[in-house]
């Protein structure tokens, strides 16, 4: 009674969620009420709900607390109250992973699962499966089998779904339930049939042949449940994908026949599957697309949404097929459901031609304010692809984007627009002025610091090269006056770039920067002081190195190097060249899970900025034999040296140091009846190279990756840098029991021939982006210049030539010179980087296309004469 009153009161004063402001410790304290006898189901139910709420809010509960609450909860089995009992089942499921000794409820649950109360049986089965571990599974197996074939659908479904969950850990036990699952597939209940089919597939999914049989069996014998049909279609589609089969496969016939099913769900699933398939012809697609087209005019909004969403997804892949639906899509533009309308318009934008863009953009702008941010992003993405497709339409699209920038919207949405404008500026020189103007306007009133700094950086880079750089300075300087410290600092850097680039603006920029020296923030003042002093020197090389080019090294590497330097003080000043360079391009910085790594070095991978190379550096430092090779200069991306799906799977990574190369072989043994020991890769070195050390991998068990290293000294002759290495994998094989992994006592030596590993010029250079190539070119000077002319007769286009040159030389293309404007017959490619040992290397390649192929005039400048020689011969 009391609790009832309290509930009422809570409802009155607490509008909204009555469970707000729950405290974990209080709730767990309250859970002790469960121990009281007799049990008050109402009160206990309320408390248990609170406990469940707390757990589902993601609040961490300690093991001891959880166990205490769990045991208190087990006492609620005394009560026969159905609501409370079902809450207890939920409680058991939620706490089964955090409390100890949860096995205690097994018998109670088994009693309920075989009991008379049907409404307890299903939940009891689910709860039981969550507390049962693999060793206990056998004791409940008999009951589970019975439950699967139970005539009550809820019980059968619960058992089937639980079996699916159990299958993750104890596949072997679940396999034995196949007969029961077979029987359940014949059930009249739609859900039971669906779940049973799911379980059957799960049991057999590793065996492709069995899955094939499964599909062909059930595709003939008519299933009742539309859900089961949908699942079958998905399985069939997956099979087609895996086998790379075309439309002649029986699977495809089955999916195609589902297009004529009576349930809309099945029809949609079949159409969806067909349009997503890879190898389809227009003829195969036609029936599926016509089904989707029909759905587009359905009175049910869900069907319209599903159809238009599917069409939207495949619009790029099958433009012709989707164009057939254009008329229906046009009708959907005015749909009352804005999500459908947005998808319809963006689909039309993707497939439409240049002339329809204006009209569609006008239409879309009428309801931009009514759709959610998520769909606005879809629109922006469509516009982005349009910008790439129809560069001539940029002013319509730009205006539209600017309009969107002015409207209300969240960070993600604004970021998407800004990204879109930036890519358009970069791709399309004509759009640059307008785009920059829009962005300038946007930062006048931008609440997102991240976006403002990004745009300021862009202005600093692109602004100075426009015809009238001075007009941007006003916008930038306004930021210095009005914004927070981070934006001010970015603005200062941008102004300095204008000063460094445009001689006529230098004095004005210095004046502005001098004013910034009075700023209240340290960083802003420091930057301003630094830039003023550099600019006052009026030396092009200095400005280019310290203002325009910025920091080239990897931040994590720099931090580590500086830390090392402070630990071992020495007379020698810190050398920035010893710091590994930041890997270019930046998109390549995903952190890979490096096999065979010590757990101690794991945390370093979690650092956000740790690039792939930093991870390797850390990993190599863990191997004592490789620790004193100096700083890692470059790590290549992994190359496979075995065919895939052979006995052993091996990848090679080349690490370049100043005098050595380390070949890292990441090996995986795919035979479960063998253990390999003392694994090394023997290398037949090319001339001048010398193998100095092998570091074997002590043991290589089935499916557990291991790493072995081979250390090679580079030739003393500085121009000799390339070579081909023949590799052989040598190891000691021990046969073992596939189940237990227990190896035999003695083994035998064996070897395995790997593909050759090549060391090319690209392994000796690191890509570096020089934003202002001309300045850097002058900075290095002509002392070590080499020039040569080549005829690349095998290349037929400039693009192809550029791609190959970059691949051979391994330097970073600068100033977007890797993109050739359409219709030109000559082009100049600028490449920049650093050669092993810290020598700057710059390459200018003038390319001309004529009837016989591509002619190239290659000019190399470097701080070291040997480097120039190596690079000049790289292409030859």
């Amino acid at each position: 009674m009391l609790s009832l009153k309290r509930d009422k009161k809570e409802e009155e004063d607490g509008t909204g969620n009555p469970f707000n402001n729950l405290e974990k410790s209080t709730v767990l304290q309250e859970a002790r009420t469960f121990n009281e006898t007799p049990i008050n189901p109402r009160k206990c139910g309320h408390i248990l709900t609170k406990v469940l709420y707390i757990i589902n809010q993601g609040e961490p509960i300690g093991q001891t607390e959880a166990t205490e609450a769990f045991f208190a909860m087990t006492k609620l089995f005394q009560s026969k109250d159905p609501i409370l009992r079902r809450l207890v089942y939920l409680g058991i499921k939620e706490m089964s992973k955090i409390a100890q000794d949860v096995i205690i409820v097994t018998s109670s649950l088994m009693k309920d699962m075989t009991g008379k109360e049907d409404q307890f049986r299903g939940p009891a089965i689910r709860a039981l499966c969550s507390v049962t571990d693999h060793s206990m599974l056998q004791s409940i197996e008999r009951y589970m089998k019975q439950a699967i074939v139970d005539k009550v659908p809820a019980v059968s479904s619960a058992a089937l779904v639980s079996a699916l969950h159990l299958g993750k850990g104890s596949h072997e036990v679940i396999k034995r339930w196949v007969n029961e699952a077979q029987e359940a597939v014949n059930s009249d209940n739609v859900m039971v049939q669906f779940h049973a089919l799911g379980l059957l597939y799960h049991i057999r999914k590793t065996d492709k042949l069995a899955v094939n049989k499964l599909v062909s069996k059930f595709s003939k014998h008519t299933l009742k449940s539309p859900y089961a049909y949908c699942l079958l279609i998905r399985i069939a589609a997956k099979l087609i994908e895996e086998e790379d089969a075309g439309s002649d496969s029986p699977m495809f016939d089955f999916i195609e026949s589902c297009l004529r099913h009576k349930s809309e769900m099945v029809i949609y699933e079949a159409a969806h599957a067909i349009v997503q398939l890879k190898n389809t012809t227009a003829k195969d697609l036609a029936p599926a697309v016509s089904v989707l087209q029909l759905f587009c005019s359905s009175p049910k909004p869900t069907l319209r949404f599903a159809a238009v969403r599917t069409l939207n997804k495949v619009a790029i892949k099958h433009p012709a097929a989707v164009t057939a639906c254009n008329l229906d899509l046009e009708n959907l533009i005015t749909d009352v459901n804005r999500s459908i309308a947005t998808l319809a318009i963006t689909t039309l934008l993707k497939t439409g031609n240049e002339s329809s863009v204006d009209r569609l953009m006008k239409q879309i702008s009428t309801f931009m304010s009514e759709i959610s941010d998520e769909f606005k992003i879809v629109v922006v993405q469509a516009i982005r692809s349009l910008c790439a497709k129809f560069p001539r339409k940029h002013n319509v699209l730009m205006t539209f984007l600017a309009q969107m920038l002015r409207d209300e919207g969240g960070f993600d949405y604004k970021k998407e627009i800004v990204d879109c404008i930036i890519t358009t500026i970069e791709e399309n020189a004509e759009a640059k002025e307008a785009g920059l103007a829009h962005l300038c306007e946007f930062i006048e009133d931008c609440e997102h610091t991240v976006l403002a700094t990004k745009i300021l950086h862009l202005l600093g880079r692109e602004g100075p090269r426009t015809p009238t750089p001075s007009k941007y300075i006003r916008f930038i300087y306004n930021r210095v006056i009005l914004e927070n410290a981070a934006v001010r600092a970015a603005a200062v850097s941008a102004i300095a770039k204008f000063g460094a680039h445009c001689d006529d603006l230098l004095n004005s920029c210095v004046v502005l920067l001098e004013r910034c020296q009075l700023d209240s923030d340290d960083e802003v003042r420091d930057r301003a002081t630094f830039y003023v002093n550099v600019l006052k020197q009026q030396q092009k090389a200095l400005s280019s190195a310290y203002i325009l080019n910025g920091l080239q090294v990897s931040v994590v590497g720099l931090e580590r190097a500086l830390h090392q330097y402070t630990l071992e003080p020495s007379e020698v000043p810190f050398d920035l060249k010893s710091v590994p360079l930041a890997a270019q391009p930046i998109s390549d910085q995903r952190v890979r899970d490096v096999p065979g790594e010590n757990p101690s070095s794991k945390p370093s991978q979690d650092k956000v900025a740790a690039s792939r190379q930093d991870v390797y550096q850390e990993q190599l430092a863990q191997v004592p034999e490789l620790a004193n090779l100096g700083a890692l200069f470059k790590s290549s991306s992994p190359v496979e040296v075995t065919e895939s799906e052979t006995e052993y799977y091996i990848q090679c990574v080349k690490h370049t140091f100043s005098n050595y190369i380390v070949f890292q072989f990441d090996c995986t043994n795919t035979l479960n009846d063998q253990i390999l020991e003392k694994v090394t890769v023997e290398m037949e070195p090319a001339d001048g190279f010398e193998v100095t050390k092998y570091i074997p991998c002590p043991s290589l068990a089935y499916n557990k990756p291991g790493t072995t290293y081979t250390l090679v000294r580079l030739p003393s002759e500085p121009t000799q840098v390339t070579g081909t290495f023949a590799c052989t994998l040598k190891f000691l094989v021990k046969d073992c029991d596939p189940q237990t992994g227990e190896p035999d006592e003695d083994g035998y030596d064996d070897e395995y021939v790997l593909e050759d590993v090549e060391v090319s010029v690209a392994d000796h250079v690191q890509k570096v982006m020089k934003p202002n190539f001309a300045a850097s070119w002058e900075e290095v000077g002509p002392e070590n210049e080499l020039e040569d002319t080549y005829a690349l007769s095998t290349m037929n286009t400039l693009e192809e030539a550029i791609k190959n040159i970059i691949q051979y030389i391994g330097l970073q293309p600068c100033e977007r010179s890797d993109k050739v404007p359409e219709g030109k017959s000559s082009h100049t490619l600028y490449l920049a980087g650093v050669f092993r040992g810290g020598h700057d290397a710059l390459v200018r390649a003038k390319l001309a296309l004529d009837s016989s192929g591509v002619t190239m005039q290659l000019t190399v400048r470097s701080t070291d004469p040997h480097v120039s020689e190596v690079l000049a011969t790289a292409v030859a």
Binding site: M1, N35, E36, T37, P38, F71, T74, K75, F77, Q78, D101, I103, I104, V105, T106, S107, S108, M110, K111, M136, S139
Partner: protein, 190 residues
Amino acid sequence: MGFFDSLAQWLGVKKKEVNVMVVGLDNSGKTTIINHFKSPDAKSHDIVPTVGFSVERFKSKALAFTAFDMSGQGRYRNLWEQYYKECDGIIFVIDSSDKLRMVVAKDELNLLLENPELKNRTIPILFFANKMDARDAVSSVKCSHLLELQAISNKPWFICASNALTGDGLHEGVEWLTDQLKVVLQKKKK
């Protein structure tokens, strides 16, 4: 408790509720004993080893029992103590034909008696020397010797021989427990 419950109790329509724990080594017959007290339609026919515990209800003349039928397997015995706090009485089942493990039963009994939750409480303990029909079963007197029951001073206890399959001796024991629990409940009221 609501008003109607107390009224019903006063009128004697509704029986007083008590909690008892059924403990003992594995395969001593705990679940079978409880099964015997259940109404004919609720009886289960095959008894399997209990995992964890299960809650059962049965009635005697004056009381409604809620029995926590605990698992007797070695690895679950340490979980008994989670349920000591709320119980009003204990039924300890002994397999009187298993002389070998009598010492194990004694150890478990001592652990139970020494548990801080039970040590200073006067709660009745009923011993069933079960499986008295077995050929090599020891008598209840011998049983109490082997378990040194005479050393229990602060709790009322009673031992009777039983056969859970036929029900011999079970009612005698439960009658004793009912009488004891009634006394305890009366004391509680005062």
